[in-house]
């Protein structure tokens, strides 16, 4: 076997040194009654060529966003990935390393995470960001737990109906056996209903969580939401599923959010059927010591030279065990590296311009679709690169019709939003050319594509 270096001669020598005759004796600590008495029922070992042939066959059965015209978003976004990224993350000093618990030989990972934390702070307008969480959904759940922890006795959390449905489900799972009451805040014109929010807030409310942009593509009025939440003594959690929007729109931090979480997949990660992504988590200074997850901090070595270490570990499970701020043990290491490289390449100007391009493309598609007979744009206000179309025909039928033209027109909203049974969530990014958008519009209209 190519991954196992042992020759038969070496195995003999090693057994001799150990003082046993057969390998089986090494397993003498396992009682006979606990042994598997047959070989594993798995196929035989394959050559690399055979493995790749089998995997290519499986991969060949899938519909790629580069060969189809895809207008799918909804928490996973098709953006261009610069060639630099895969080359750099393929440095095996990065991807085959462990968690940087030994800082003297992990300065590469540690400095990269320190830079990641800094850029997440700059982008979100917050003071402190951690070294990442699993994804946007679990980061949102941890944000709710943080808010409840920090607010001491308050046990109520309000979730906007505009928050990504998968984030809301994840929050519900995380809070299943924690003493927290989750209450939904309804929408009006696709954004959080402020009047309803004011009614629902009380002195037991620890936090309000909203999407920015929200699941329906709408840009929420965070400043006003923050004012309302703060007036009741609650924290405002902003969950950002499409962080490219922060290249263009005001940061949640400057608008008054107390916790900003989100999904970094847009910044250079392949779609990979939805995972792995990379969750980000940023707070104000006051919440630094109740943060979940790893943190990298700057320090100096014995010679006074700058270096980086994992720090404030007394919050974490390996020290605090059942009293830790979270059970999380890993971060999304390599994916924070991707985000760091992506943001470093795009920088101050590139991120802004890319966001403007996304905005303009989506605006164009929205106008073209709005002009179609029978189609309506569901909401009137500002969107980023996603918007909801109300279709004249059942959405399932429309999708099937367009799929025969190799167009993935968007996500049917009926399952998560029965009130938008005719709703289709359309996402347009820089990866969609005008020609593709025009083809979509023609196909929606029923004309020749």
């Amino acid at each position: 076997m190519r991954y196992l270096p042992h020759t038969e001669v070496e195995v003999r020598q090693m057994l001799e040194r150990i003082g046993v005759k057969e390998i089986d004796e090494l397993f003498s600590g396992i009682p006979e009654s606990c042994r598997l008495s047959r070989p594993l029922n798995l196929p035989e070992a394959k050559s690399e060529a055979e493995v790749m042939a089998q995997l290519r066959a499986l991969a060949g059965k899938n519909s790629k966003v580069f060969t189809w015209d895809s207008f799918l978003g909804g928490g996973a976004y098709h953006h261009f990935i610069p060639a630099v990224i895969d080359h750099l993350i393929s440095r095996s000093e990065f991807y085959t390393a462990y968690t940087p618990y030994q800082p003297e030989i992990s300065q590469g990972t540690l400095q990269a995470i320190f830079e990641f934390q800094t850029m997440i702070c700059q982008l979100t307008g917050m003071d402190v960001a951690n070294a990442s969480m699993y994804d946007g959904a679990s980061a949102c759940a941890e944000a709710v737990l943080l808010a409840v922890r920090a607010a001491k006795k308050r046990r109520r959390v309000l979730l906007s109906r505009g928050l990504n449905p998968q984030y809301r489900e994840t929050v519900a799972t995380y809070c299943r056996y924690v003493d927290v009451e989750l209450v939904e805040v309804p929408l009006v014109d696709g954004v959080t209903d402020m009047a309803a929010l004011e009614t629902l807030l009380d002195d037991q409310t620890a936090a309000v969580a909203v999407g920015y942009p929200n699941y329906l593509g709408r840009v929420e009025d965070l400043a006003k939401l923050a004012d309302i939440a703060h007036a009741a003594g609650a924290r405002l959690i902003a969950a950002v599923a499409e962080p490219l929007a922060l290249g263009l729109f005001k940061s949640p931090g400057e608008l008054g959010a107390d916790v900003v979480v989100g999904e970094g997949q847009s910044f250079g990660l392949p779609l990979s059927y939805g995972g792995p992504g990379v969750g980000f988590f940023a707070v104000r200074k006051q919440d630094m010591r109740v943060l979940p997850g790893r943190l990298v901090g700057e320090t100096v070595d014995l010679d006074g030279k700058r270096g980086f270490v994992l720090t404030l570990a007394t919050r974490e499970q390996h020290i605090r065990r059942e009293k830790a701020t979270s059970n999380i043990c890993s971060n999304q290491g390599l994916n924070t590296l991707i985000v760091g490289i992506y943001l470093a390449l795009h920088g101050k100007q590139g991120l802004k311009r890319l966001a403007e391009i996304n905005y303009s493309k989506a605006a164009y598609a929205r106008e073209q679709i709005a002009a179609l007979e029978g189609f309506e744009i569901a909401h009137s206000g500002e969107c980023f690169n996603e918007f909801v179309v109300l279709c004249p025909e059942p959405v399932a039928e429309l999708k099937t019709r367009l799929e025969t033209l190799e167009i993935l027109p968007g996500i049917a909203l009926g399952r998560d939003y029965p009130e938008l049974e005719r709703g289709l969530l359309v996402c347009v990014t820089e990866q969609n050319s005008r020609e593709q958008i025009d083809r979509l519009v023609a196909a929606l209209a029923g004309g020749e594509a």
């Binding site: 991954y3 270096p5 042992h6 090693m14 090494l26 396992i30 598997l36 070989p39 594993l40 798995l42 035989e44 690399e48 493995v51 790749m52 899938n62 750099l88 000093e93 991807y95 462990y98 003297e104 030989i105 300065q107 990972t109 800094t118 003071d127 402190v128 959904a137 679990s138 984030y167 799972t173 003493d179 729109f249 005001k250 059927y273 939805g274 995972g275 792995p276 943190l295 901090g297 700057e298 100096v300 070595d301 270490v309 720090t311 404030l312 007394t314 974490e316 065990r321 059942e322 971060n331 290491g333 390599l334 994916n335 470093a344 920088g347 101050k348 991120l351 391009i357 605006a363 820089e430």
Partner: protein
Amino acid sequence: MSGTEGRGLVLDEKLLFEQSQPGRVGYSLTGLDVPEAQPDSRLVRKEITDFPELSEIDVVRHYTRLSTWNYGVDSGFYPLGSCTMKYNPKVNEVAARLPGFADIHPQTPEALNQGALELMYNLQQDLAEISGFPAVTLQPAAGAQGEFVGILMIRAWHEANGRKPTKVIIPDTAHGTNPASAALCGYDVVTVASDGLLSKDAVAAVMDNDVAALMVTNPNTLGLFESDIREICDLVHERGGLVYADGANLNALMGISRPGDLGIDVMHFNLHKTFSTPHGGGGPGSGPVGVAEKLIPFMPKPIVIKDEEGYKLDYERPESIGRVKSFYGHFSIMVRAYTYILAMGGEGLRRATEMAVLNANYVRARLEGEYDLPYKQRSLHEVVFSEAALANDCHTLDVAKRLIDYGYHPPTIYFPLVVRGALMIEPTESESMQILDEFCDALLAIAEEAKTAPEKLRMAPVRAKVRRLDEATAARKPKLRWEREDA
């Protein structure tokens, strides 16, 4: 590599922000082919203060230089106990990057992504066969999230049966994630002392009808197989509890013993340990969970099923605990693990386990005597020494740092907590006898240095990018981001 001669080219590298030059760009964007549109100016942000501005070569050099300060499995031996730092096959990386896997959107209709679902279904089946559990969910993002899912299912099962037990029993050798995960499910943690092995008497002494579950790691973090496991499972089941297994050490059992056959009710896998997917400097991992028949209704949704029409995502699971993350799990990690299983085959996986156990026992045989071995039972895939035999008040930390000077990543240290100054070595199956001999020679040389030149240990490392770092100040005055000095 051993010895302490020579020193490579170690480059210094500023932070991205310190290299930034106004107007420099590292991107190329396709020109806009639709009319320019502007949002309401009141919503638009000003420029992102101090965000970097760099060219492509700046960025490439920056990260390339940073990479040279790291140490990966490809750099050399990485004997981290309980982390299973085995070789990460390169074909796994190629497979995960196939466009038919990397460029597929999770909201694509299931009928159009049958290959992805088939791969997930096959991986569920393979993991079930390896572990002896009838069903496996691939959704959890990492081992700790797998634990969380497992305990959630246990609690949901109790509640479905009208029970409200309040405690979870955890041995003192357990990973810290175990008690943290139990607490997240609202349980009180009861720690039970083990003398190397968990005895049925020790479990019986703390068992009552208020115990929801026992969490056990098998083999445990001392590398010892919990030989009473069947009787322990029976004891817990008799009082209405369930048994959770932490599968971190599954690399010791493939093809030898299956946790699902032993009475265990639920177990998480670490694809990034046992199934060769890279650790990535801290993640992403993947933590599938196998369950006994009675817990199947409570599994997270969706799971992948197969019927006459093909492969599907099943959401119709009314008793499910729900979801713990977006979409279906860490798919690209699943591709890597599946690639590994295909390459190894059933027999190859068993051989990997055998070689991992052989390697650990070889290291043990070579070091026992010079290093104190507190638990003498036959160990499996890892061996734990204590600092008791070190001369001149040298400590485990000093040995670990000195190993860096000899060109090795240190073992896991100060864990498990039951061993004073634990030095936990897990060589994995990837290392040859020559590598192990060189490593043992280094450790023996360090033990000798402790006797004759202890300052060499206390001052170590001297050959790394930086010397020992001031972690106390880092925690007392946290500096968690870069900020402009004059700001």
